[in-house]
Symmetry: C2
C-alpha cells in the first residue's frame, strides 16, 4: 500500500491500515514511515495524551482498563499504546494485545496496541512519538500510553504525554522509595491504587509531604483507586480532565507541545545522522577495534577516532 | 592537574585524585577525561565488575552494604558506583555518598561514589563505562554498580557488569511482574531479599519455574537473603564468585568484555559525532523549526532535513 493511501485509510478509521502503519513505526521502515507520518502530522494535535506509569505490581494494566471503561462511559474513543519490555524468548511484547483490555475486545471505539520497549531501530524514544502522532491523527479522543517501570526510558515516554498519571500501591515502599524512582518530576496526577489495602493513607500522606517541596503552579492531586472494582476511577478521570483544562488555559499545553516538537525534530535529525554512519554498529572495522580495546592494546577513544576516520559522515 | 599526573595519582591510590577524575567523567569534560581514560585503560580489566539491580523497595542499598561487608571480611577492596535518579530539587544525586554505606565510612579499602542517572553529556550509557574503567584501574578487587529500578538505562548499565545480581522481595508482585520488569534477560544471580517475609518461597518457586524457559549454559542460582541481618549474604557472595569462575573457564568473560569494548567504541564514536553536530540541541534554528512543527505547518521529518542542512556534520 502506498503511504498516501495508508494515510487516507487511517484517517477514515480503518483499523487494518492503522495496524500496518504502527508496524512500520515499530520496524522503523524509513521511507514509507516518513511519508505516512509526514501526511498524518497535520491532522494530529487533537487527542488528549495521557500517560500511566509506575513500578511493576501497582496494577497499571487494571487501572488503564478501568480508565478506558470510564472514558467509554463518557462517550470518548480511546487508543491504548502499551509499552512492554521485550522478552528474549518470545522475541516480542510479553503481554500481547490480546491479553490486555479484555473488557474492550469487542468495542470498536477502543484500539489497543502493544509495543516492545527494546530492539527498535533508533530506540523507543524515536518510535513512541511517531506512534502517538499516528494514533492522534487516527481520530481517537484519548490516547493512553502505559509504561512498565519508572526507568529513564519510561520517564522519557511519560514526557510525551500531556498528563502523566503516576500509579503507586500501598506497602510497596515509602516516600523515599517513590522519590528514588524519580516520580516527583513526572507526576501530574498521583494515583494510589489498591487503596483498599493497609497503608494506603500512609502512602497518600507521604506523597503530600513530599509535595511541599513545590511543583510549579499545578499541585498534582493525589487520588485513591481500587481499579479492580472501579472505585475512585471516575474521580481519577475527573482529575485528568481538570489537569487538561489547566494545561489549556494556562498556556502550558502549548509549551509542552513545543518542547516535544523540539525534541522530536532533534531526535529525527540525530537518527538520520546515525543511519548515515552506516557501518558504525556492524562493520568488521569495529570488530577489529573492539578486539584491540578488549586486549588493552588500544584505548577506546583512540579506537573511536580510527573508526570515525573510516566512515563517511557526510 | 594534568591528565598524566592524575592517572599516576589514581593508580597510586590517591582518593582525591580518584574523586576528581570521576567528576571529569560525570561532567563529560572531553579533553582531560579523554587523556585520563586513555591512560588508565591499559591498567583496567582486573576487577570483578558486579551489578546489583531491582525495583525500588527490594532493599538494594542494604544488600550492597551487606555484600561490601562480606567482601571486606574476605580481604577484598571494593569500589561502589551507585546510580541515583536525579532530583530536580537538589540538582544532584538524591542519596549522596554520605548517607550510603554508613558501615564503611572509615574503611579506606572501600570507596563509594554516587552518580546521577540523568543530565550527563552523552548520557549515562556513555559516562558509566568510563567510571568503571577508572575504578577498575584504581586497583579495587571488586567494583559494585548499584542501580535503581529496572528500566532500559538500568538494563544497559547491568550489561556493563561481569555478574549481574537481580534483587527481588517477596510480595512485590508475582513472576509475571518480574518478567515484565525485564529481569529474565539480565540476571546471572537472583537474590530474594527480605526472605524473612511471607511469600519468599513462593517468589523463589516462581523464579525457578520461569527458568525452565532456559538461559544458556549458566543456570542463574536463586539465593535468599535478609540483608539487614546479613543472613544468606555469604552464600550470595559465594554464588557471585562461582559465576565469575564460570565466566573465566567457559570463555564467556572474554566474549562479554569484547562485546562491551565494541559498544564502548561505538558509543564514543557516536558521541563524538553528536558533539560535532554542535548546534543540534541548542540552536535558534531548531527553536524556529519546532514552532512550525508544533503549529502543524511543517512535519517533523521535513524539519529534521532543514536542520541537518544547516549544520556541518563533517
Amino acid at each position: 500500500m502506498e503511504a498516501a493511501e495508508l494515510v487516507d485509510r487511517v484517517v477514515a478509521g480503518e483499523r487494518r491500515a492503522l495496524a500496518r502503519l504502527l508496524t512500520y513505526v515499530e520496524d522503523g521502515t524509513p521511507a514509507r514511515l516518513r511519508a505516512a507520518v509526514a501526511g498524518l502530522h497535520g491532522r494530529s494535535g487533537r487527542a488528549a495524551l495521557v500517560g500511566v506509569t509506575g513500578s511493576p505490581g501497582v496494577g497499571k494494566s487494571t487501572l488503564s482498563n478501568a480508565l478506558v471503561t470510564e472514558w467509554r462511559r463518557r462517550g470518548r474513543t480511546v487508543a491504548v499504546l502499551a509499552i512492554d519490555p521485550t522478552s528474549p524468548f518470545s522475541g516480542g511484547a510479553l503481554l500481547g494485545d490480546r491479553v490486555r483490555m479484555q473488557d474492550h475486545v469487542l468495542d470498536d471505539a477502543v484500539y489497543v496496541r502493544s509495543m516492545a520497549s527494546r530492539g527498535h531501530l533508533g530506540g523507543l524514544s524515536w518510535a513512541a512519538p511517531q506512534a502517538l502522532t499516528v494514533l492522534d491523527a487516527a481520530g481517537f479522543d484519548v490516547v493512553l500510553v502505559e509504561t512498565v517501570g519508572v526507568g529513564q526510558a519510561e520517564v522519557e515516554i511519560a514526557s510525551l504525554a500531556d498528563t502523566t498519571v503516576v500509579a503507586l500501591a500501598p506497602g510497596m515502599g515509602d516516600a523515599i522509595q517513590a522519590a528514588k524512582a524519580g516520580i516527583l518530576e513526572i507526576a501530574d496526577v498521583y494515583c494510589v491504587n489498591k487503596a483498599d489495602r493497609e497503608g494506603a493513607d500512609r502512602t497518600v500522606r507521604e506523597l503530600r509531604d513530599m509535595q511541599a517541596l513545590g511543583h510549579g503552579e499545578w499541585l498534582a492531586p493525589i487520588l485513591k483507586t481500587v481499579a479492580a472494582t472501579g472505585d475512585g476511577v471516575a474521580e481519577l478521570a475527573d482529575a485528568i480532565d481538570r489537569h487538561r483544562d489547566w494545561l489549556s488555559t494556562s498556556g502550558v499545553l502549548d509549551d509542552r507541545r513545543l518542547a516535544r516538537a523540539r525534541r522530536q525534530v532533534a531526535d529525527i535529525a540525530l537518527e538520520t545522522i546515525r543511519r548515515r554512519v552506516a557501518g558504525l554498529g556492524e562493520g568488521a572495522a569495529l570488530d577489529d577495534l573492539a578486539r584491540q580495546v578488549a586486549a588493552r592494546q588500544l584505548d577506546p577513544y583512540a579506537a573511536a577516532d580510527v573508526l570515525l576516520a573510516t566512515i563517511d559522515t557526510a
